[in-house]
């Protein structure tokens, strides 16, 4: 058998830091742990000093509720924090305060689309916990930074509903997009604010029984997520092909070598000795509170995508790239407002084409873009009305992308206003035809492609500013009249 005769079964655990101002159980600020001086955002509580006690950050609960409700989960009226016990120097209390038997929310779903229509990935549970510190290994010793210790962390656990790396990527991307829409996470993967763990198993296609699964830990990028799962599917398929069995174990991902590595077997698995956290009373979320959070949810990515497709007549592809980020979708709709007479599709194309190309080139986010939505809208309007040519439009966009400003000012300063006057264009056409009698004769002899060359000469004479549609009309008319009344040789 080959890999293609197996079906992969994949579930994802996503850990997302919550962008609250203070930590989960103390008043310390949440700082960018990749930037801040180590151990500057710490106190006796988040370093686990004796006698200290946790206090739940209500804002973190509210952020978690946003996510849970956006994932259509059932929110528990009473959920319980629990201690997850294990020793490690980045875990100052020797236990992590998490949720176990009674999580904040359960049974939701997220819709994804990998080109074969919308499908649902079920979400098993969403729960709150605290992040750990960070270790820095040096020669012969290690250092601990507790800045991240106690940062609110949301764990979102999917059902094993995914069957390909494409689906995994779509789910992870959709979830990241959702977290950013809800303004609870920056989505900065390189800062480690979203981390993944994947459960992977394979089974013969058509089989209903689940194969033995492995768990890949500490995946901190989409790339590592996708590559490690692809590797693991291949590895497990080959094992089964060879008549061997998959061992249930926890794996790490070696990014450099591109392989998964065994960390510990089932027998060595931690016994976390979970028990209810006695320092925290059960967490009560009243129906009113949940309802208030629900009412304040923004329009979510999939709803916005559907609306963009219907209302603006966008293709599924363009709708999905314009709604992947709330900031982009907002930019688009603000640009539309500045160009009400232009077709929404045109504006969409300018953003997804020209603007995205510039952003990619400059490695910038839309938030850092100097082109305002209004400027883009005005630019598209000027092109559509023929005030400037499409080529000029691109040049103007590139310029305001660099320097900011309004397109009208650039057009005026650069003299880019498009030549639309048919009489003036007629004069240009006449001149080009007179200056190039040979080419005209070739055309009259039946070599029709020469008309393209003549078009280019007219545009050149107009220094690129002439309306191409008008040139084409005038040129065609002139050539036709010459065919009817050939010039005397």
């Amino acid at each position: 058998m080959t890999a293609s005769t197996y079906e992969a079964v994949i579930g994802l655990e996503v850990h997302a830091e919550l962008l609250t101002r203070s930590k989960m159980f103390c008043g310390c600020p949440v700082v960018d742990s990749t930037q801040a001086e180590p151990n500057t955002a710490v106190c006796e509580i988040c370093t686990g000093m004796p006698g200290t006690l946790p206090v739940i950050n209500q804002r973190a609960v509210e952020y978690a509720l946003r996510v849970a409700l956006a994932l259509r989960c059932q929110v528990a009226e009473t959920s319980v924090f629990a201690r997850k016990n294990y020793f490690y120097p980045d875990l100052p209390k020797g236990y992590q305060i998490s949720q176990y038997e009674l999580p904040l929310a359960q049974q939701g779903w997220l819709s994804i689309d990998v080109g074969s229509g919308e499908q649902r990935v079920r979400v098993r549970r969403v729960h709150l916990e605290e992040d750990t510190g960070k270790l820095f290994h040096r020669e012969g010793y290690s250092l601990v930074d507790y800045n991240r210790s106690g940062v609110p962390l949301l764990e979102i656990v999917s059902e094993p509903d995914m069957h390909s790396v494409e689906e995994v990527k779509a789910y992870a991307t959709a979830l990241r997009s959702l977290l950013r829409y809800l303004e609870v996470n920056s989505g900065d993967m390189e800062k480690g604010v979203i981390r993944f763990e994947a459960n992977v198993s394979v089974r013969p296609s058509g089989s209903e029984t689940l194969g033995t699964r492995t768990e890949i830990k500490n995946l901190n990028s989409f790339r590592a997520l996708v590559r490690s799962i692809a590797f693991e599917i291949e590895r497990q398929s080959r094992l089964l092909d060879a008549g061997k069995t998959v061992v249930q174990e926890t794996l790490g991902w070696d990014e450099v070598r591109g392989v998964t590595l065994s960390q510990r077997s089932k027998e060595e698995a931690h016994d976390y000795r979970y028990f209810p956290e006695p320092d925290l009373p059960p967490l009560h979320v009243s129906a009113e509170w949940a309802e208030r959070v629900r009412a304040e949810l923004p329009e979510l990515p999939d709803a916005r995508r559907a609306r963009f497709r219907e209302r603006y007549r966008l293709t599924p592809y363009v709708a999905s790239i314009l709604t992947a980020e709330r900031a982009i979708a907002d930019f688009y709709e603000d640009a539309l407002a500045a160009a009400p007479q232009v077709s929404p599709e045109k504006t969409a194309n300018w953003i997804s084409g020209e603007l995205f190309a510039l952003l990619n080139q400059a490695a910038l986010d839309i938030d850092a873009c100097r082109v305002t939505p209004r400027a883009l809208g005005e630019l598209v309007s000027m092109v559509e009305s023929g005030e400037i040519s499409a080529a000029s439009g691109k040049a103007v966009l590139a310029e305001i992308f660099q320097a900011g400003g309004r397109p009208q000012d650039v057009v005026r300063a650069r003299g880019l206003a498009q030549l639309n006057d048919p009489q003036e264009i007629e004069r240009l056409v006449e001149r080009v035809l007179q200056e190039n009698p040979q080419q005209v004769q070739q055309y009259l002899d039946g070599k029709e492609t020469v008309s393209q060359w003549l078009f280019g000469q007219v545009m050149r004479a107009a220094r690129g500013r002439a309306n191409p549609r008008v040139i084409r009309e005038v040129l065609e008319r002139a050539l036709r009249s010459m065919e009817e009344n050939p010039p005397t040789a």
Partner: protein, 490 residues
């Protein structure tokens, strides 16, 4: 005046107000007595004479100002020297929990309960000895040596707040803060002939109390009478935003003038008079119950039918919580670290060398009770039975206002008497554990002496947040009797 340390807290407070004595004089008298008696008693793990004298001077300034302008009320604890059990953090002062694993640890913060008594003007003399991490009933489990009972130096003061109880009994201080997880305020109070209040769970903030069994730990106080405990209770009690399990309920003023036993219904649980209880203890407690009856209380027998299960339940829940609470002592961030080649060796070496045997026993017991495959049978089951025990108290308090019972089956035993038999030691707590499991308050106070001249205590329990009723009832008893006025022959 003979010796200032012979005064009760309230007498000293009145003398301070009248300007007859100063806080500095009181503090110096205590420090002098500590110096004389500590070599025999060993009630303290750390003394803070400089801090105490500083606080005393500040208190004297305030007292002087108050005498000129009495418009602002002044707590009765103002200028009163007290001691603090060494499981409660005091900023900058060594706090060890009687353990070598916290040797030299100086917390950068102060426990809420301690801060509140300091804010109420109390003068802190030092940190008192305790069984390591409050695990024990004799103070013998302290890594720094046992405390000796002032009534008989060959005997234990009880525990784990044995240092606090001995310090109060030996009149080295006017009162002391203690903690009670399974009887650790009440049993040493009983052994040392002083009055000890175990507050309701959630009544006093646990912030800065170094945790043993988090769902059972309470902060209490020991003094020479119920009346002396009132100002301490009023200072410490009340909601603390730093402790999510502290109750938001307002703390009522405890009025001792209103104390009246007439018509008060007192229940005596039949399950508490079991085989193994010393006959002298039983007789003294029954006589005390009769005193309550003579003062107008209606005494009736009641049943707390799951009492015999309290001990096993406690020794599953408390060690389970302790096994997690004590995981932070890894030598990484605070406290000493034993030399080692790598991380895991460091954990083993530090914890192996610096935890005492009783602490290790409870960590192992608790880890086992929580482990996969055993959780339901042990920890899970214990939680269910705890609910039944709580239910016993709730049902009983439908019928009676207070419950009266012994504190411990015996009087103070000899140092080393329980030796290597932890189970016989655990039985010391059999009458005090249920209140912790139920979260209800209790008060222990002296009601007589055995034939060896050792104090015998009795206990009253009240419904959750019923401390005022406890203090009033014990006060009424102490108005009618003189047991609490006896001093050890030191």
């Amino acid at each position: 005046m003979a010796d200032l340390t012979d005064l009760t807290l309230l007498e000293a407070a009145q003398a301070l107000r009248r300007g007859e004595i100063s806080s500095r004089e009181l503090t110096e008298a205590c420090l002098t007595r500590m110096q004389a008696l500590e070599p025999q008693v060993h009630a303290f793990l750390a003394t803070t004479p400089e801090l105490a004298l500083q606080q005393a001077q500040a208190a004297d300034r305030r007292l002087k100002a108050w005498r000129q302008d009495r418009s602002q009320p002044l707590p009765l604890t103002w200028g009163i020297p007290i001691a603090v059990k060494d499981v409660l953090c005091l900023q900058g002062v060594p706090t060890t929990c009687g353990s070598r694993i916290l040797e030299g640890f100086r917390p950068p913060y102060t426990a809420t309960s301690v801060q509140r008594v300091i804010d109420a003007g109390a003068v802190i003399l030092g940190k008192t000895n305790t069984d390591e991490f409050a695990m024990g009933s004799s103070t013998e489990n302290s890594a720094y040596g046992p405390t000796h009972n002032p009534w008989d130096l060959e005997r234990v003061p009880g525990g784990s707040s044995g240092g606090s109880a001995a310090a109060v009994a030996a009149r080295m201080c006017f009162a002391a803060l203690g903690t009670d997880t399974g009887g650790s305020v009440r049993q040493p109070a009983s052994f040392c002939g002083v009055t000890g209040l175990k507050t309701s769970y959630g009544r006093v903030s646990r912030y800065g109390l170094i945790a043993y069994g988090s769902s059972l730990d309470t902060v209490g106080a020991l003094a020479r009478s119920a009346a002396d405990l009132v100002p301490l209770f009023e200072a410490m009690a009340g909601h603390d935003p730093l402790d999510s399990t502290s109750m938001p309920d307002p703390v009522p003023q405890v009025s001792l003038e209103d104390a009246d036993l007439k018509g008060l219904r007192i229940g005596v649980p039949r399950e508490y008079f079991i085989e193994g209880i010393a006959s002298e203890v039983e007789e003294a407690v029954r006589r005390a119950v009769q005193v309550f009856a003579d003062l107008g209380a209606q005494v009736q027998e009641i049943s707390l039918s799951h009492t015999d299960l309290a001990l096993p339940v406690y020794y599953l829940i408390a060690p389970a919580e302790a096994s997690a609470n004590l995981a932070r002592y890894d030598g990484v961030r605070f406290g000493p670290r034993e030399p080692a080649q790598d991380l895991w060796e460091g954990y083993f070496a530090t914890r192996g060398a610096r935890f005492g045997p009783e602490v290790k026993r409870r960590i192992m017991l608790g880890s086992y009770a929580l482990s996969a495959g055993y959780y339901d049978a042990y920890y899970g089951q214990a939680q269910k039975v705890r609910t039944l025990i709580k239910g016993d108290f709730e049902a009983a308090f439908q019928e009676v206002d207070l419950i009266a019972c012994p504190v411990a089956p015996t009087t103070a035993f000899r140092i080393g008497e329980h030796g290597d038999d932890p189970l016989s030691m655990y039985l010391e707590d059999v009458f005090t554990l249920p209140a912790n499991l139920a979260g209800v308050p209790g008060i222990a106070f002296p009601v007589g002496f055995d034939s060896r001249g050792l104090p015998i205590g009795m206990q009253l329990n009240a419904p959750h947040l019923g401390e005022p009723a406890l203090l009033q009832a014990a006060h009424s008893y102490q108005q009618a009797t003189d047991w609490h006025k006896e001093h050890p022959p030191l």
